[in-house]
């Protein structure tokens, strides 16, 4: 079983992360206090990021002196499908992030054409951990040093019978990533880059690895945004994806987003997304609408 090794690695990393969270003995624990938008926008994977791409920022409104968290709901209506994601994350001392997300991919009418039946649903659960290992995206304005985080995500996909029928190798998979995020205040820019080692087919909804390729490949996630007001970030993201299945080629994902901090506890995001061809159905474009509550 491929997943037992992954699970062990996940557990080992999780333990390391918890031990690594520094203890500030005798200091006052306080709720909230993060600058607006610097808790990021929950990705469909559940980690703090920009909606599609992961960032090195830690979820929740807490600072190094507290514990925070967030919940999100995201709906992505596409030309022939829809994707939705709901999840929660905990941020510990702006250092460690633990996240969970459930993704649901509705084939709608297209399920009939795919031979799966109308409204056939693919879904997956994603458990994630992210550790900030260096830098501070906002404080370090006098150097080029970004905030850097490493993360791991364990995916459990439903529909293993269909996944194997279309050539998928596994119904569980573990992603490993390193992420760098920099706020360039002098330019009002937010820049991010992530390298993810993954086998995921369509984020993992169609399983992991496949008849074309069953190896980890490095994939890239990039994002750039402009702070137009202190509450509003306009930006774009790109996320490359592997091509592991012979039955259908997989495209990279793109979006252009507007994220607005309605209050320190509520961020709304609207985006135009292009997920390309999905399971032989061409040009899946649409909207990404997300609401995130955080404390």
């Amino acid at each position: 079983m491929p997943s037992s090794r992954s699970k062990r690695m996940f557990l080992a990393l999780s333990c390391a992360l918890i031990v690594a969270a520094p203890a500030h003995a005798g200091e006052e624990m306080r709720a909230g206090g993060k600058l607006l938008l610097t808790n990021g926008i929950s990705t469909v994977d559940g980690a703090a990021g920009g909606g599609l791409a992961s960032w090195a920022l830690i979820a929740g409104n807490e600072t190094v002196d507290g514990i925070g968290g967030s919940v999100h709901a995201t709906y992505v209506p596409l030309s022939d499908y829809s994707l939705s994601s709901a999840g929660a994350a905990i941020g510990i001392r702006d250092r460690l992030e633990l996240s969970y997300a459930h993704q649901r991919f509705d084939t709608q009418k297209t399920g009939v054409a795919l031979g799966l039946g109308r409204g056939f649903i693919f879904s997956q659960d994603i458990i994630g951990a992210k550790l900030r290992i260096a830098g501070d995206a906002v404080t370090d304005q006098d150097s080029a040093m970004p905030q850097i985080a490493v993360g791991v995500q364990y995916h459990i996909a439903a529909r293993d019978a269909v996944i194997h029928a279309i050539g998928g190798a596994h119904d569980t998979g573990t992603d490993f990533y390193v992420s760098a995020t920099k706020v360039l205040l002098a330019q009002s820019l937010v820049l991010g880059a992530t390298v993810r080692l993954t086998k995921a087919n369509q984020f993992g909804l169609l399983g992991f690895g496949g008849d074309a390729d069953d190896h980890y490949s490095p994939q890239f996630e990039g994002s750039a945004g402009l702070l137009v007001t202190r509450r509003l970030l306009l930006g774009g993201e790109y996320r490359s994806k592997p091509n592991n299945l012979t039955f259908a080629k997989e495209d990279d994902a793109l979006d252009a987003f507007a994220a607005y901090a309605l209050t320190p506890n509520l961020t709304a995001t609207a985006a135009y997304v292009d997920l390309g061809d999905i399971a032989t159905v061409r040009n899946q474009r649409g909207a990404l609408l997300s609401i995130q509550a955080s404390f």
Binding site: E27, G33, G66, V138, T139, D140
Partner: protein, 156 residues
């Protein structure tokens, strides 16, 4: 030798009107904790001294009643705080002022300032700059100069 003489000068100088006396320290523009912007564009973006005065007064007025941080300012010399902040902003924004306050570490010593307090100040400053209609891009350019001060201001 030179800093020593300055320290004596600071000691000898009486506190400005309305301010309480402070322990002697060496005066230097370097105490402002950031280098000034080149040229006059930032100074103009903040509407020169009258604009900076309004921003600082707006900031301090918010801070002393902000329930998240008001305790830090209780018992502090608010008259001196307004004057030194106005000097510091004038100096950094290229207005040509001398900064006569203490450095960021000394000035915040033993106040127990946490990251949240620093960020609350940033938020209140943003509101004060919005009130003055300073453009977001000029605001963020200034914040880029102030952000690294967190390392000296936050003690724990």
């Amino acid at each position: 030798m030179f800093p020593f003489l300055l320290a004596i000068a600071a000691l000898a100088a009486p506190a400005p009107p309305g301010e309480q006396p402070v322990d002697p320290y060496t005066q230097s523009d370097a105490n402002a904790g950031a280098t000034p912007f080149e040229g006059q564009s930032m100074w103009r973006a903040f509407r020169r001294q009258p604009g900076v005065d309004r921003v600082i007064d707006g900031l301090v007025d918010r801070l002393i009643v902000d329930p998240r941080v008001a305790d830090i300012f209780r018992g502090q010399d608010i008259v001196r705080l307004r004057r030194t902040l106005k000097e510091q902003f004038c100096y950094i924004l290229g207005g040509g002022c001398r900064y006569t306050g203490r450095d960021m570490q000394e000035g915040h010593h033993n106040l127990g300032i946490q990251t949240k307090d620093f960020n609350v100040l940033v938020g209140d400053l943003q509101l004060a700059m919005n009130r003055e209609r300073v453009s977001i891009f000029a605001q963020n350019r200034l914040l880029a100069k102030l952000a690294p001060m967190k390392r000296s201001v936050v003690e724990r």
